[in-house]
Symmetry: C2
Subunit: 313 residues, 2 copies
Amino acid sequence: MSKRPKLLLSAPAYWAGIWAEPLAKGGIDLAVYGRDAFRPDAIDYALSFRPPPGLLKSLPNLKAVFSLGAGVDGFNIDSDYPKHVPLVRFVDDTLSNEMATYVVLHTLIFHRNQRALDAAQRKGVWQQSLLPRRADATRVGILGFGEIGRLCAERLRSLSFVVSGWSRTRKTVEGIKSFAGDAELDAFLAQCDILVCLLPLTRETEGILNAKMFAKLPRGAFLINAARGGHQVEGAIVAAVDSGQLAGATLDVFETEPLPETSPLWRHPKITVTPHIAAISDPSASVRTVLDGIARFERGEPVANLVDLARGY
Amino acid sequence: MSKRPKLLLSAPAYWAGIWAEPLAKGGIDLAVYGRDAFRPDAIDYALSFRPPPGLLKSLPNLKAVFSLGAGVDGFNIDSDYPKHVPLVRFVDDTLSNEMATYVVLHTLIFHRNQRALDAAQRKGVWQQSLLPRRADATRVGILGFGEIGRLCAERLRSLSFVVSGWSRTRKTVEGIKSFAGDAELDAFLAQCDILVCLLPLTRETEGILNAKMFAKLPRGAFLINAARGGHQVEGAIVAAVDSGQLAGATLDVFETEPLPETSPLWRHPKITVTPHIAAISDPSASVRTVLDGIARFERGEPVANLVDLARGY
């Protein structure tokens, strides 16, 4: 390389400390947006969860943009995103694996009645009962059957659950039924005892977890949303749980984050709230991915996990 | 068969209702101990969790005894058990699978800090943090690496945990380290971030979950006991949790069951109490197994899952 590539980081201050040393070791110059002065035309790469709209357009020599997360909705909302610049999303085994443990945990909390057992413990009551269903008679549907969804599906299947996935295009995964496209969405929903949302957030999927969708699930289905708050209509979730159409929900993401103190979700007895921690990008893993990606761009080699900017994921 | 085999059921009343019809359909006459009159010499088979000591000895023509559970400690305590009569324990995929979902659930509740997240939700506090460890850097040890233990181990391994097992004899399971015998117990314990007890209850394993054993675990280890209450010294568990030697515990079994109202376990913030429901024998599955077993004994064929009465499991 004739000159050291220069990377602009636009992220919470926390991240700058993590990235400085490994980038320096990797031969990359770092500028932190909002902290360091930089010449826009000197920036080769950008790294962010959610850049200020217009920032990326102001960098005339940008070769590529890296997302710090698996979802790129933080970039989709930038209507000035420079479409000729490739956007790379963060796909990593450790991230996918964390998501799988989250999905398995909350599937099992519901499946095994752990919340009722917790309540019985608080009362000091010994209340035995058989599980309401066997795992091999419990159908879990993964709404958003991409790379992370596939790992979650396989791990649920290894616990004997009956697993299906829905995605825009049909997938072939052994032992897991693939539903595809709008035409098969209703049939997919009708067979979800537990619905797990792992969709990318796009114009098409915004607000998809709404009353109309819940009505298509079997009565008493359970909802897990570990994708984005923009997918869900929180008022409709509360109403569906209160009516019994949903047995309950586990939500890791919210319309507004942090979840406002006044939200009824915090204290609903059938709703578990977690603070967007299902799968937090491991900084050391993302450093490796970004260094490898920059090296590939510099050498003119193909780079994995490029976002299709037209479809938005 | 010249005559219909006659089976004596000694179990809670609940079970008699479940068994009557399938046994009749299977060509077996049923007598319920404590309800029906029967001639001791007419009984061919017995079925129980924990028969009254001496009952089995009083049946001179007994061909075999079936345990309703996977553990046979309820028979071991009958010092008059007629040693010439084969004892068959209940081993069933559905039971093993339920145990695996229990072990995975409580491993993940600890691993993913779900109790701290529950507490934060009760307070309405948004508290993000990375997981303290990655699953692939978290070591789970299965104390009692038999058939059920192996299934649990494999399912934890499929979630990326580092899994080992301890048993009397060495086992070969891909990707899972097998420790064997007394000589390797301390080395096994020293590498258990999470210890899962699935041992059979015998004279050798009674009270094994005690202060001396907890001292051999890494500081801050987590204990799951889904085997028998007789394995654990409850005072030592509370002391080890209060001292920080154990980070916490999930207990499905207790020295006295139902767990007495006065037990401090009910209200300990770091101890989860479940009412011996980790794996409840599915009546329909056990009916199939017993009918198949009786047919095999009647035809003189080999029967699986015979208990070694000398070692006690």
